[in-house]
């Protein structure tokens, strides 16, 4: 960040950033807030990652090795919650903050003060969540999906704090999303019609809509939990006429759109990077937009595929199976378009491109295992096994997180004015790529062989692959320290970046100098 301050200290035409700590507390600048989000997300990525290391260390060998089962459950739960709500979502919001105003030619986000509020709620919310580790009875231990009655009747007292932390995280997400939508709908430069918007902007418009539609439903779910636990209601209690399965319906009505919230911005990022490094125009822009819109709409009618084994009526099982499989169509369109964009392109393999290609390949693997899980009768076999763990980690780690890393390498010259170290970047890529596959690919096999998820101990037959998986996880975890080093090194200095940075890059953000001035586009540019 210091590079940004120095290069603009002498510039009297613009208002530069304020000095000191209060700059970050009071800022209304979309770039400052974007950086805050990204650093916060990275901190959470390391904390959640450390918890994953505890999990993998315990699973390194069969038998109880390092932690108590109770603590293992807390690690498992917090790992999921922190990675979903603390690492992946804030990272995408941070990218939206940095990029959306520049991409649409706006001076800032539409509602800058609310933007600051959206961010600063998060450190408080995660402070509450993490502090529950030190409360009586320990942290939440019911899995990130917090199914009732594990999260109601049998929950530790800290569940109350968890509920309120989720409430304010939701408030943060809703405000952030309103800001993104309003910026996109109201602040585009003259001439930038909807169908000329960069795909990252499109992906965020759709994501923000999903967030506003489902975060309140999550708030409703945790409110019902709170009332059931403390005020005697019976929402999830069959003895009073409610139903624990009702919790799962409400949760997954939020939860399924939520998983697309964590992948749609990745689609936008991959489209930009593949286009740039193939030195071709993106193949099928309009179909990309329609595919994302279709995925978003379908995401509201597939939630019960997470619940095939709870005893749904047959008609529901069939409906949710077919609706889920339908999602493969627009997703296939996207993968086809990325591959076709690369076809006959003059491709060069800089770090962002490596991450983007790995994203396409590995996300597709995660998508295929998703299709397997969508088949109701087959899911009866796969449900709650490590196959599911492998599936969603393939779409989240080499899916969402690789796309975030690709985005950081791709846009960091624009943010800091410096090029990152290409050699180290590639090293980081290969270590992460090998690490992620060694970690998660064997989990498909142990899952198909019958190892259940969320267990601290397992049968001897799963020992070998678990050990290999743990080794992969340690490699992946350690290589993220390298990532931090690369980013810090780039922030401090490095080869100066040109405004366009990449030979094939297109879009408004590449027309301003690198680093981007503190205020861009105080008068909107003309878009042809």
């Amino acid at each position: 960040m210091s590079a940004v301050i120095e290069s603009h200290g002498h510039d009297d035409h613009h208002h530069g950033p304020a000095k000191g700590l209060t700059r970050w507390l009071y800022t209304t600048n979309h770039k400052d807030i974007g950086s805050l989000y990204l650093w916060f997300s990275f901190a959470m990525f390391l904390i959640g990652g450390a918890m994953a290391m505890v999990i993998r260390a315990e699973l390194f060998q069969p038998g109880m090795q390092i932690v108590e089962p109770e603590f293992y459950n807390q690690m498992l739960t917090l790992h999921g919650l922190i990675m979903v709500f603390g690492a992946v979502m804030p990272a995408f919001v941070g990218l939206a903050n940095w990029l959306v105003p520049m991409m649409v030619g706006a001076p800032d986000m539409a509602l800058p003060r609310m933007n600051n509020l959206s961010f600063w709620i998060l450190p408080f919310a995660f402070f509450i969540l993490l502090s529950s580790l030190f409360m009586e009875g320990g942290a939440p231990n019911f899995g990130w999906t917090f199914y009732a009655p594990l999260s109601t009747t049998y929950a530790p007292p800290s569940v109350t704090f968890f509920i309120f932390a989720v409430h304010i995280m939701g408030a943060s997400s809703i405000m952030g999303s309103i800001n993104v939508i309003v910026t996109i709908m109201n602040m585009r430069a003259p001439g930038m019609t909807l169908m000329k918007m960069p795909l990252f902007v499109w992906s965020w418009l759709i994501t923000a809509y999903l967030l506003i539609a489902v975060m309140p439903v999550l708030a409703g779910a945790v409110t019902m939990m709170l009332m059931d636990i403390h005020f005697g209601t019976s929402f999830f209690n069959a003895a009073g006429g409610g139903d624990p399965v009702l919790f799962q319906h409400i949760f997954w009505f939020f939860g399924h759109p939520e998983v697309y919230i964590m992948i749609l911005p990745a689609f936008g990022i991959a489209s930009h990077i593949i286009e740039t490094f193939s030195r071709k125009q993106l193949f099928g822009y309009a179909s990309m937009v329609w595919a994302m819109a279709s995925i978003a709409i379908l995401s509201f009618v597939v939630w019960a595929h997470h619940m095939f084994t709870v005893g749904l009526p047959l008609a529901a099982e069939l409906f949710f199976m077919w609706a889920t499989m339908l999602i493969a169509v627009p997703t296939g369109v996207k993968v086809f378009n990325w591959v076709t964009t690369m076809f006959k392109g003059s491709i060069s393999y800089e770090t962002p491109m490596l991450f983007a290609i790995a994203f396409v390949v590995l996300f597709t693997i995660g998508g295929f295992s998703g299709l397997m899980l969508a088949i109701t009768p087959a899911d009866f076999q796969y449900h709650d096994t490590y196959f599911v763990v492998a599936h969603f980690h393939y779409v989240l780690v080499p899916g969402s997180i690789f796309s975030i890393m690709a985005a950081v390498y791709y846009w960091i010259p624009k943010w800091t004015g410096n090029m990152y170290d290409e050699r180290l970047g590639k090293l980081h890529f290969w270590l992460s790529f090998i690490g992620v596959n060694v970690t998660f690919f064997p989990q498909h096999w142990i899952g198909l062989a019958g190892m259940p998820r969320r267990v601290p101990d397992y049968a001897l037959q799963f020992a070998d692959w678990n050990m290999i998986s743990s080794v992969g996880a340690f490699l992946f975890g350690a290589s993220q320290i390298l990532f931090m080093y690369i980013v810090l090194k780039t922030v401090m200095g490095g080869k100066k970046a040109t405004p366009q940075v990449w030979e094939g890059s297109r879009g408004l953000e590449w027309t301003v100098e690198s680093p981007a001035p503190y205020h861009t586009f105080t008068t909107p540019p003309k878009v042809n």
Partner: protein
């Protein structure tokens, strides 16, 4: 096209105060709720302090926005941002209520009939044999001491008793208030400030009457019907849906009251420039629509 610069405030202390207030609010609330029944708990003071910081900061934040508006800092484009922002905020509120309505539909159409032995999952009846499904659920599947069973529900009492039925009066009051707030809007557009203040005053009064009637209904439920949060799924859905609606009526009524005082004491609105009022009135119409749904699905059907 002439271009007016989009106003981006330099920096602001309000958001970090609100974030801190939210932190205190939720820590205080969670602590208070966890300590319910324990005599020595101070969490409630954290809750109060959070609320105080929240209210005070919000007052100054809104005051700053109003002053910026009066100073002409906000362009037409910025005002449009507020319009969009309010619209999407109301959409998020719609989805919050959707979760509770969804729960109501699910228990009425699926889980309660299944527990009673009907439908594809009627096997559930083996849990509490002899439980007969009906809505409202007056006796819970497990009639043990965990539940306080109600003698009477809040549902439609039949034509003979309709006029003594509070929800009908609540409906009349709230629907009328939606009309009066619309009259206030029309008066404002015609630049008739006196009429605007009168109609808005009538609306706020109707809001107060509604909240009063709702309180009377809750008193009735607890004191005479034995209908409580503890009465099983009917009490749960009834109180949560009407309770959150009532809370939103209070918020909407408070917003309208603020607009009324802005108009009476500061003469703030003019025929073309009154989005603060318009946003509050949108919220009011939204609250009204939720009530119509409640009246239909909680009380009548």
């Amino acid at each position: 096209m002439s271009y007016q610069k989009y106003y981006v405030p330099e920096d602001s202390k309000y958001p970090i105060y609100i974030a801190t207030a939210l932190f205190l609010l939720v820590m205080g609330a969670a602590g208070t709720i966890n300590d319910l029944g324990k005599p020595e708990s101070n969490s409630v003071y954290i809750l109060y302090s959070g609320f105080a910081v929240f209210a005070i900061t919000l007052y100054f934040w809104f005051r700053a926005v109003i002053r910026e508006h009066i100073a002409g800092l906000d362009s037409a484009q910025l005002q449009k941002s507020f319009v969009f922002g309010m619209g999407w905020f109301i959409f998020s509120e719609v989805m919050f209520f959707a979760a509770f309505f969804g729960a109501l539909f699910y228990v009425r159409n699926f889980s309660v009939p299944w527990l009673g032995g009907d439908g594809e999952k009627g096997l559930a009846n083996m849990l509490w044999e002899g439980f007969e499904a009906s809505w409202p659920v007056m006796s819970t599947p497990d009639a043990g001491s965990a539940f306080v069973l109600a003698d009477k529900s809040m549902s439609w009492p039949g034509w003979g008793n309709a006029l003594k039925w509070l929800p009908l009066w609540n409906t009349i009051v709230l629907l009328s208030s939606s009309v009066t707030v619309h009259f206030a809007h029309l008066a404002l557009k015609n630049d008739n400030k006196k009429s605007f203040n009168t109609w808005l005053g009538v609306t706020v009064t109707l809001a107060l009457i509604f909240v009063g009637l709702q309180a009377a209904e809750y008193y009735e439920a607890y004191a005479h019907y034995g209908l409580t949060l503890n009465s099983g799924i009917y009490g749960s859905t009834f109180f949560m849906l009407t309770g959150f609606h009532g809370f939103h009526v209070m918020m909407g009524g408070f917003m309208l009251a603020v607009m009324l005082s802005r108009s009476v004491f500061y003469n703030h609105f003019d025929p073309h420039n009154h989005f603060g009022f318009e946003a509050a009135s949108w919220y009011w119409h939204f609250v009204d629509v939720v009530w119509v749904m409640l009246f239909l699905f909680v009380y009548i059907l």
